[in-house]
């Protein structure tokens, strides 16, 4: 090896000022890009807020500022069916979240820690289940729900949502438990802990972030679900929010209650925003946990 072979190609370095300019331009591009993404994701929600505060013909004029007229909101909060659907949604979504976390943790503990030959197969099956499109399982589910006598009951929704939420909670939590230091668990075993005590006293307290992130995802999924909620619920008083909004009618056949739907959409999104804000820090920690060591 000669020094000449190792030397960098002889190219004149540009002036410091030109590097500074380059860095500024890059930064400018980044700001523009972030702005575009933000507008793309936030504008629909902003538009819903704006529309929900406008009356009648004002709706069809393209002004970007809200009119601060809360008539629709008042009407909405006097609407028994809508309020009922909020309660239903809260019940369905929180039960789904709680159940999928419990099932997910138990399954993940087994899959992540206990060595049994079928483990890989089980994990693959879980992954397969979670990629079926909803429509594929819809008719089969319908039979199952009927057979269990759950038709037109919110519990039917919980059962079907678990089909979607348990696989991904299991996957995420399995990854976490796999990366959990084995020696920590062995220390607990020597300290005399049962599997259950290890789970409750050692694993769960350390799993907060992963639980928060998977829990939120499950909650959002259950809260927003439309197809199953439309299919398995017959009567208005058992509906969940997305369907209730979708089926909102105007005072006549020809009127589309645009403002009211917008007001309802804004209201429905608020709980999610609050939840995400509360758990924000834990979620970020959870989603990146295990990505890098430390």
């Amino acid at each position: 090896m000669t020094d000449a072979a190792l030397a960098l190609p002889a190219r004149r370095r540009r002036s410091s000022a030109s590097y500074r300019l380059e860095r500024r331009i890059k930064k400018g591009f980044l700001v523009v890009a972030v702005g575009l993404v933000l507008i793309y994701t936030l504008f629909p929600y902003y538009w819903a807020i704006v529309s929900s505060t406008k009356q009648g013909a004002a709706l069809y004029r393209n002004t970007f500022l809200p009119a601060f007229d809360f008539t629709y909101y008042k009407a909405l909060y006097e609407n028994k069916i809508f309020l009922g659907s909020l309660v239903n949604s809260a019940f369905v979504a929180s039960s789904t979240t709680a159940l999928s976390l419990i099932l997910g943790i138990s399954a993940a503990y087994a899959l992540g820690r206990i060595d049994f030959p079928q483990r890989r197969g089980v994990l693959m099956t879980i992954l397969m289940i979670s990629i079926f499109p909803q429509v594929v399982v819809l008719s089969g589910m319908f039979e199952l729900i009927n057979w269990l006598g759950l038709y037109n009951r919110p519990s039917a929704l919980i059962l079907t949502y678990l089909l979607a939420t348990v696989p991904f909670t299991t996957w995420i939590l399995t990854t976490f438990i796999r990366e959990f230091p084995r020696e920590l668990e062995e220390a607990a075993i020597i300290d005399g802990c049962s599997h259950f005590r290890i789970l409750t006293k050692i694993l769960l307290p350390l799993m907060g972030p992963s639980l928060a992130s998977t829990g939120i995802l499950a909650f959002i999924l259950a809260w927003n679900e439309f197809l199953f909620a439309l299919t398995f619920i017959l009567t208005d008083e058992n509906r969940t929010v997305p369907v209730a909004i979708g089926l909102m009618g105007g005072s006549s056949r020809y009127e589309y209650p645009f403002g009211q739907i917008m007001a309802a959409s804004v209201t429905v999104t608020l709980p999610l925003i609050v939840l995400v804000l509360i758990f924000q820090r834990r979620i970020v920690a959870g989603l990146t946990a295990g990505a890098v060591k430390g």
């Binding site: 230091p181 020696e183 920590l184 062995e186 220390a187 607990a188 075993i189 020597i190 300290d191 005399g192 802990c193 005590r197 050692i202 307290p205 350390l206």
Partner: protein
């Protein structure tokens, strides 16, 4: 306090043998150190004794009672892990007291015992902290405290000091030795560190590929290793080896090797052919070329202040290291002779077993005269 006995213990992972027929009797109160190359099964053997992994075959007893199928928490052992394995979400006090808490001891009783242990290990001012707020040495103390609080009959350590820097390591080494003197509990200790093995052990167990090569006091292993493997493993820097060609001359062997080596040697006991010779770096001295046992060229000199290592190349394949108390007068690239005493010569046959020769008995005698770990040498 308890003895530990392993009877032809084997362990395989998926048909892959890791521990193969290990027999070992550890006396009550003994300090045993496991050494061996990486992957030879030291940790596995320790985990088998702890009950963290089930044995594939064989029997383990602790304190004379068979415990082969007894769960880890009921074996009366405590384990100190290399990574400390402290519970990150608990304070130091809870970390130490967790085992007692699990046992269902009352709050006050737990607090008293924790305070007692914390004081012994000088971590009583840290009780309210979390593990991440501690230094490495403090974490290690807490880990030992957690083990100590259970009043175990056998202490198991898996490379407990390997994450510490060398000063702290020496300090903790002395503390562990003191702890053993104070409580007198049987201890089994895995390490890579020569100094830890030599200073702490009553007896060292040398493992190789899941088999015990030799068990003995540090002095026995140093002076009378059973095989080339043990000779190369105990002592630092390791023993110099060279292949030799042996020609029979009457009852003696004439050995010829690299660097113009010519030694006459009278092998006693079984008269098999020596294939390798070994000389420890500290047994060699530098003399004028031609006046020693063999010649070579100094390739490199390392100056550590209190000692010096000279690397001498004998031929293309063989380079020996010499340990010297002072910097040699000779410079790099000078030709030198090396000399050693007859009793410092080790002979090994093709299979690696060590051969006794006429002079080696003097060395064995020296080994026995050495004050070894309280007459524990078996």
């Amino acid at each position: 306090m308890a003895s530990v006995e392993l009877k032809s213990v084997s362990k395989s992972y998926g048909g892959n043998p890791v521990i193969r027929g290990v027999d070992l009797a550890i006396r009550d109160g003994e300090f045993i150190v496991f050494v061996g190359p990486s992957g030879c099964g030291k940790s596995t053997l320790l985990r088998l004794i702890a009950g963290l992994v089930p044995v594939t075959e064989g029997e383990i007893s602790i304190g004379g009672e068979p415990v082969t199928d007894v769960p880890a928490s009921k074996r009366g052992i405590a384990f100190v892990f290399q990574s400390y394995a402290l519970y990150p979400h608990m304070t130091v006090a809870r970390n130490i007291g967790f085992a007692l808490e699990t046992l269902g001891l009352g709050r006050d009783a737990v607090r008293n015992k924790v305070a007692e242990v914390a004081k012994l290990l000088k971590v009583d001012h840290l009780l309210a902290r979390r593990p991440r707020e501690l230094s490495g040495g403090q974490r290690q103390r807490v880990a030992i405290g957690r083990a100590l609080v259970r009043k175990p009959e056998v202490f198991l350590f898996d490379e407990p000091l390997s994450n510490l820097d060398s000063d702290l390591r020496m300090e903790m080494r002395i503390e562990i030795a003191r702890l053993h003197d104070d409580i007198g509990t049987t201890m089994i200790y895995v390490t890579h560190d020569q100094a830890e093995a030599m200073t702490l052990a009553d007896r060292i167990v040398v493992l190789n590929h899941g088999v015990i090569e030799q068990v003995g006091s540090p002095q026995e292993l140093y002076h009378t290793p059973k095989s080339r493997f043990v000779a190369g493993f105990v002592g630092s820097p390791r023993m110099n080896f060279s292949p030799v060609k042996a020609t029979g001359v009457g009852a003696d062997w004439l050995l010829a090797g690299p660097g113009g080596l010519r030694v006459e040697s009278h092998v006693t006991g079984n008269r098999s052919t020596p294939a390798t010779i070994g000389v420890r770096p500290e047994a060699l001295s530098i003399v004028a070329p031609g006046s020693g046992r063999l010649d070579g060229v100094i390739e490199r000199i390392e100056d550590l202040g209190h000692e010096h290592f000279a690397y001498v190349r004998l031929d293309a394949d063989n380079s020996w290291v010499i340990r010297l108390p002072a910097r040699p007068r000779e410079d790099r690239d000078t030709k030198v002779g090396l000399s050693f005493r007859d009793e410092d010569l080790f002979l090994f046959e093709e299979s690696g077993a060590r051969l006794d020769h006429a002079a080696s008995h003097e060395r064995s005698a020296a080994a026995v005269a050495q004050p070894s770990g309280g007459g524990m040498a078996a």
